[in-house]
Symmetry: D3
Subunit: 65 residues, 6 copies
């Protein structure tokens, strides 16, 4: 029974519904199993670091100029 943990961004319910549906399809087909659990952790951009910087700072800089 594979479990998929998604460390992703904030998302609305419809987005998460589609994510769960499609990730589960992939896992079922690739592993040949039926039962699949998905856990979605929604992370604020200030809780994610990319190459030494907060994602929130990177996004602000991109928008800013």
């Amino acid at each position: 029974m594979p479990t998929i943990i998604v460390e992703g961004p904030k998302a609305d319910k419809e987005t998460k519904r589609e994510l769960v549906k499609r990730l589960t399809e992939v896992v079922r087909e690739v592993y040949g199993v039926h039962h699949v659990s998905v856990i979605i952790h929604e992370n604020e951009t200030e809780n994610v670091g990319v190459d030494g910087e907060l994602l929130s700072d990177i996004l602000e800089r991109r928008r800013g100029k």
Copy 2:
């Protein structure tokens, strides 16, 4: 020093207090160790997928009828 990560539902403080107490007892007895850490992640039902569906959708359908 085993660490237990619980991906569980929303819960009140008393429930989490009991969970930590009892999980720790089990881990101590089975592994024969003293120090045990527990981290509880409380997940909204719309952040959990079971066999391709959001848990929130499954629960709504069950209640609905």
Copy 3:
């Protein structure tokens, strides 16, 4: 930059290659992002518990009779 952690079974390289390719496609399309990391943890069936039993015991019982 979403990260997907897969707690799955033992698998060969081709299976993991397909898993990474297809999970990444789904995450890109659903979240509308480009960069996606995937980490695959391959777990022995005796390291997975389903409803109180080791998966290895469940599979043995199914095969056995």
Copy 4:
């Protein structure tokens, strides 16, 4: 459907069987649910750090003298 991830030491099958059985009982009783998954990650003592030191170094020092 709560999922319990155990970051624990190397253990034999009987130990893991008991761990899964008893952790599941606790989670069922405390949360009032039926379905519980457990994933056991067995970590070498040289892959665990406690207060800045490898667990393998701590254990060696204790044994040593």
Copy 5:
């Protein structure tokens, strides 16, 4: 591309900015890689268990009475 998951306390943005910057430096130097992701999970003290007790209970007892 190493990923660091931090199960830590609540923190302000400046603290998380420094954490990401410095953890990334360490990981880059020790592993000799460039790309490093960090994910920070901020946990309430009532969601952390230390040796069988909620961290919130331990802190209250220390402070209090």
Copy 6:
């Protein structure tokens, strides 16, 4: 008591010793705490996906030409 989970590459003991020592120093200083746990998961390059490809394939291609 923060816990740091490192999803990293294969490494020798000395590398892991240094990693634990230095990550712990950073976490102590930034959070102002004493107790820090680190868990290192060593992942094969064929168990890591970067932007849709196995890391093992990416590395082979780079070396190849």
